[in-house]
Amino acid sequence: MKGAASGHYGLIARFDDSEALLTAVYRVRETGHRRLEAHTPFPVPGLAEATGFSEDGGRFQVARIALLVGVIAAAIAFGLQWYTAVIDYPIVVGGKPLNSWPAFLPITFKVGIFNSVMAAAITMLVKNRLPHFYHPVFNEDDFAAASADGFFLSVRGGDTEKLAMLLWNCGARYVRELTL
């Protein structure tokens, strides 16, 4: 099913290998385009940075979020155990002290880990905007190659003519228009 409304989204160019793509990315960014995406079948080192992704992407980097959430969750888990065992319904068990804090650690750890994993996963999906089933780049007929051996660069908006020339000049195999 085609999209109901059609309009112009941008351009997409296919390159033969990652180097060509990388140089094209640099070139296009030099001309001031910011809304571009490089599509490669595997992670190409440096490519993401070239498209404007910063490795330690600010405060909301996946690992940091994971750590933070994990620590908070662990604290909550410990607090819950302590509260329930010491405050809410203290009962003597096996002659052990009410606040058997070493026994609370495994769950504290588990809950921390669990939440940090969830946080990492969710952060990744959210920052990648990921359940995103419709995207204009899929309107490109050959885009399937991006998951095998195709290296693509899609640029949104901008001055179509100039950009197309630039991409040709960077050695694109072809440059095509992307509809909305």
């Binding site: 085609k2 999209g3 109901a4 409304a5 359940p131 419709y134 899929f138 050959d142």
Partner: protein
Amino acid sequence: MPQIFHPRVNGLTRILLAGGALAIVAFACVAWFLNRSPYSTGQGAVPEQPVPFSHQHHVGGLGIDCRYCHTGVDRSRFAGLPDTHTCMSCHSQLWTEAQMLAPVRESLKEDRPLRWMRVHRLPDFVYFDHRAHVTRGIGCESCHGRVDRMPLMSQAAPMTMQWCLDCHRNPQKALRAPDRITAMGAPAASDPNALLRRYRIHTDRMTECVTCHR
């Protein structure tokens, strides 16, 4: 590769995700609420009794003491229900013709007991003891509500374990003087802690499992 999905799917996805999250929260809330609602505690339900016996009339109106009929409250774990004889103590003279009391008279005549529907029903694994409460200053009203205002008996308190524990952790608010146990609408005791000492209530023991479960 052609597009697989319609653009609207993106929005739909978001709605579904949000809806899913919301549904989980809603389910949790509903479950929480329902668990404590009269629907599952049985509060307020009025089972149909063989005789529409009105506590409002007998207790609120006539001022008969609870123990006249529930003779076991201060002697046994089980409060006891009046035998037919107890009803007939008065109704051999009052309303001797009333159709409404026909089952009572039948019962006496045929030596067949009345079968009252249970209103308060703890699970069998809970061992509640009326005597332990009634002789230690907990009045009927604390658990059964304003019986003197109930035309037909219904359960007033949730009777969940949490409800029991609320009082067992802090019984002061419910204590009464010994002569006020069966009184309805009695004001709270002025010095609950004195009563606590007077009744020698073991607040430390009262939340132990074995107090109520065996």
